[in-house]
Structure formats: structure tokens, C-alpha cells
């Protein structure tokens, strides 16, 4: 059976939730624990109280709402007063531990407990200590020092000093042994849980992505009879998935020439059922000129898809500081560029004219049966970095 982590109870507490928390942590009846603590206080004098106080400091408080004070005020107050009375009475009468040892011992134990908790709790690497943690350590050290000073001022009696020190050390060590490993384990469990959560979230993200894209497309392909359409669906999906896996194309990213050409190629592939083999070793941000270049290249790809009658179009796009160039090539039917009718706006206007307007040039090399190659070259104006 896995026991809950040891912490001070928020619900069902009377004073600070120590007894309830310990009882829950070890799976025993809370009444039993309370009796043991009461016994410790009465029989062990201050040691019982010191142990209780140290546990208050050592154990983290259970998250969640705390039982409101009015509900338990009477019991708690009564108990508190009883405890204090018993202790003071015992101490004053020097029946068990004299006051002048009890006070510094309490200080020492409190200090040890505070420091110990800080040491055990630790923190993730690189995490900066919170102000509260620092304060706790400072207070802990101050308590230790205070305890020692009180002792020395009181008597200078080495025997008593050592007996109080031993008492405090025994209490602190015992508590540490009891609580320390559990704190460490709780810490490790929380870390493991956090990692698992991140993994799960990542998996969910990938699953959602695959579902929206790949699974939908696969389902679609199964219902498509036309092999050409299935091919184009598969190709588009492949590109999309690849872009996601390797391209890191997230929405909101700046548009570049490569993105524009990729979109144009996708469209041509889809419309004409051809494969566009796109090679773009270098890229540049899509300014007005490059956008026009991309538009001309799109037109060239569309022409190749529409007229070439082959399954593949090769496209190379390069961008350097001096010029940007796009080559669109097919091994298809080809045509006689001189014989193209005046009214065919495609080549004349959308490609040659467009390139001329932005200060570039377009060359169309083709002959019937020889395939077609369109070369688009755009000298880039020297400009300062924006």
C-alpha cells in the first residue's frame, strides 16, 4: 500500500495538523498519535513540545483549505493551555527538565529543524531560492546561535550544555530520520510526475496533429477511386508532414520565398496531378520583389503542369546577396516560343512582363518535344539592413 506523503493535515487538525498528518502518513489512528504526543509532553516534559514544534517546522503543509479556526478553537485552545500549563508546571518544579535547559534546547531544536528542512528540501538546478526559504535558514541559524548563547550566559556549565545539546540533537536527528527520506522521495515523485505530464502533453500534441492531417488524408485516400487524385492527396500530405517535422513552419512565421514557392508548388501539384521537385538551398524574406518573382515562378509552374503532359517538374530557387533566381523545368511537350499567339497572356504578361517590371529578366527556352525551361533572374538591389 502506498502511503500518502508525510505532511501537516489541512483538514481534521486541532492545532497545527501534526498529529493528524503523522497519523495519515503512517496509516495509524489519529487518537493513538495524539495520545503518544500527550504522553511525550507530560512524561518527557519539554522534549515532547520540542518534538511537536520541530514537526510543525519540518513538515510541509498539505495544500488545500484549512479547517477554519472557529470550528476547532475550543478544543484547540483548551489543549494548548493544558499543554503549556503542564509544561510550565513541570519545568518550574524541575521535575523533569529545568527551564534554563528547556528554553535553549527548544531554540536549538527549532534551529536544527529549520536548517534541516531547508537542506532536505533542496531545489531544482538553477532555481533561485525563494525569499521565504532564505528567511527560514536565517531564522534557523539564529535560533541555533541563540540557544547556544543562552546556555553559556546561563551557567557556563559544560555538563548541562552538553546534555541539552545532546537532547536537541537526538530530537532533531530522530525527526530527520523519520521525515527526511520521505521528503526526499516526495520531491522525486513530484519531479517524475512533472516529467510524465510534459511527455503526455507532447504526445497529445503530436496525436492531435497527426489526427488532423495524416489520419484524415489516409481516410480520404481510401475512398478515392482516381489514382491521380489519391497520389496528389498523398503528396500534399507528405509535404505538409515533412514541413511540420523538419521545417518548423509554425503559423506566424515570417513569409519567405521558399514558403511562397512551396505554396505555389502545392497548388500546381493538386490541380494538375504532377510532382513538383522543389530544390531551395537558400531563402530570403518575401519582400515585394521576391513576391513578384514567386508569382512569376508560380505561373511558370502552372504552365508546365497544364501543357507539358509529364509527371514531374523540377524547380530550383536560389537567393544570394546579389541575385535571386528560379528555374522551372519540365521534360514535356515543349513549344515554339516564337509561335505563341499574342493573346496568350501567360508567358508574355505574367512571366516576362512581371519580371521586367521589377528589374529582372525571364528567359524561356523551349522547342517542340524538347521540354521547357523558364529561367527567372532578379538582381537584388543593394539595400541597408532593415
Amino acid at each position: 500500500m502506498k502511503l500518502p506523503p508525510l505532511q501537516r493535515a489541512a483538514q481534521g487538525r486541532i492545532l497545527f495538523g501534526v498529529c493528524a498528518g503523522v497519523a495519515r502518513g503512517f496509516g495509524v489512528d489519529v487518537v493513538l498519535v495524539r495520545l503518544v504526543f500527550a504522553g511525550l509532553v507530560v512524561l518527557g516534559g519539554g522534549l515532547g513540545l520540542i518534538a511537536y514544534g520541530a514537526l510543525i517546522l519540518l513538515l510541509p503543509r498539505e495544500p488545500g483549505p484549512v479547517t477554519p479556526w472557529p470550528e476547532r478553537s475550543r478544543t484547540a485552545l483548551g489543549l494548548l493551555i493544558l499543554l503549556v500549563c503542564a509544561l510550565v508546571g513541570l519545568a518550574v518544579n524541575s521535575l523533569f527538565v529545568p527551564v534554563r535547559i528547556l528554553v535553549p534546547a527548544a531554540l536549538l531544536a527549532g534551529g536544527v529543524a529549520l536548517v534541516w528542512r531547508q537542506v532536505v528540501a533542496g531545489r531544482a538546478e538553477g532555481e533561485r531560492p525563494a525569499l521565504g526559504e532564505l528567511a527560514r535558514v536565517v531564522v534557523g541559524v539564529a535560533l541555533l546561535a541563540g540557544g547556544a548563547v543562552v546556555f553559556l550566559l546561563d551557567s557556563g556549565n559544560l555538563a548541562e550544555l552538553s546534555s541539552a545539546l545532546v537532547a536537541a540533537a537526538v530530537v532533531a536527528t530522530g525527526l530527520g530520520l523519520l521525515v527526511g527520506p520521505r521528503l526526499v522521495r516526495a520531491r522525486a515523485e513530484a519531479e517524475a510526475e512533472r516529467r510524465e505530464r510534459i511527455r503526455t502533453e507532447e504526445r497529445a500534441h503530436v496525436a492531435a496533429r497527426l489526427h488532423d492531417s495524416v489520419l484524415q488524408t489516409l481516410a480520404l485516400i481510401q475512398r478515392v477511386d482516381d489514382p491521380r487524385q489519391a497520389q496528389s492527396l498523398a503528396r500534399r500530405q507528405e509535404r505538409e508532414l515533412r514541413g511540420w517535422l523538419y521545417g518548423g513552419e509554425e503559423p506566424g512565421q515570417a513569409e519567405t520565398l521558399a514558403h511562397a514557392l512551396r505554396a505555389a508548388a502545392d497548388e500546381v501539384e493538386e490541380h494538375y496531378g504532377v510532382a513538383v521537385d522543389l530544390v531551395q538551398p537558400s531563402d530570403g524574406p518575401l519582400d515585394e520583389d521576391l513576391a513578384a518573382l514567386a508569382a512569376a515562378a508560380r505561373e511558370a509552374m502552372t504552365n508546365a503542369g497544364r501543357h507539358a503532359g509529364v509527371g514531374e517538374i523540377s524547380v530550383l530557387a536560389r537567393v544570394s546577396d546579389d541575385e535571386a533566381s528560379v528555374f522551372v523545368r519540365d521534360r514535356g511537350a515543349g513549344f515554339d516560343p516564337d509561335a505563341v499567339a499574342e493573346d496568350r497572356r501567360g508567358v508574355r504578361e505574367s512571366i516576362v512582363g512581371r519580371m521586367a517590371r521589377i528589374g529582372g529578366r525571364a528567359t524561356v527556352v523551349s522547342a517542340p518535344g524538347e521540354g521547357t525551361e523558364v529561367e527567372l533572374v532578379l538582381p537584388r538591389r543593394v539595400r541597408t539592413e532593415r
Partner: protein, 217 residues
Amino acid sequence: MNVPLRKVVIVDDHEIFRAGLRAGLGPTVQVVGEAGTVEEAVPLIRAQDPDVVLLDVHLPDGGGHAVIPAVHAERPGVRFLALSVSDAPEDVLATIRAGARGYVTKSISPEELVAAIHRVADGDAVFSPWLAGFVLDAFAGTAAAPAARIDPELDSLTAREQEVLLLIARGYTYKEIASRLHLSVKTIETHVSSVLRKLQLSNRNELTRWAAQRRMI
């Protein structure tokens, strides 16, 4: 024409892809073995001594570039052709620099792949359009840093080599390039082999850094 029979080992972790590859290789290529991991591949290649190994750039227990040095000492005659669906340029570059004679993408047509196998078996180099475009820009793009030059012969491409690479990147076959440049196919092959040598031997770190910045899509 008398085409010699080439013995080929396929190293790829996708069984379906291996089956598809095998089916398309035709009568001049004989598959003598298949492996899915580096661990399987190394002893298999040593035992079979094939002419060409079709090597996936990515394998579950390491890149394809882990296979080449492990085999090379014992079987220097075995040639490697890197093959991949879509990989980071630095991995492709690593495989080439480890000694592969070329790189093609898995979408290559069966006829072209067979031609590439024969070309590699003959000791020539094979560049996919993507690799050609990449190499072209890698050498051109880093030319602006002459201080880093270690060997000017190795660190730059001749005008003719650039011309050939540009045409490969534009989708030309060796034969088409030869006829366009009025050269023999053999000369084109020599130019590409020379580029491959530079790619493998150039000491420039920029090549690798350049590759790391690019993504192959």
C-alpha cells in the same frame, strides 16, 4: 550494351521500403543482402562484399555514417550510396564526408536509381538535385570568408564545376548536361567526382555549420 551485374546490399530500417526498392531494381542489380541496423549491416557487408551498399542516412542505432568507417578498412572496394526520405543536411553531409559516393532521395525513380547504382559502382559520384543546389550554395555562400581558407584548391569550385552542379540542381541528367555543355558524359562524371572529393576533404568548418542552418524540405 553489356551491362555488368551489380551486387547490392540494402541497409534501411523500413522493411516495406526495402521490399519496394528490391522490386524496382531490375535485372542488372542483384540484391545479396538486407539489413535494418548498423549492427546487422557491418558483418553482412563484410561477408557479402557487394559492389554497392544503398545506405539509409538514418538508422535506429546510429546514422549511415557509422557503417562506412566500420567496413571501409576491410572492404575498401565497397561503395556507398546514401539514400533518405528527408533528413537534416548535416546528417547527409556527415554520411558523404564519411565516404559515401553520392546521395539520392527515396522518391527517385527506379530507372534513375539503377543508373545511380551503376554510376557509383563505377567509382563515379551521384548528386541529387537537392544536394547539388546545397553544395553550390555552401561553397558560394561561405566564399566571403577567405580567412578560413585552408586549401584554396579544395575550398572552392571551378567555374565548370559550378555550371555542372547548377544544371544538376535544375533537374538535368548527366546526359542532358553533357549535350548542353557540349562535353562527354565521362567529363561530367569527372567534374562531379571532383566536387565530391572537395566536399569530403575540405577542412572548412563552415560547410558543417552551413548545413546545420539549413533544413531540407
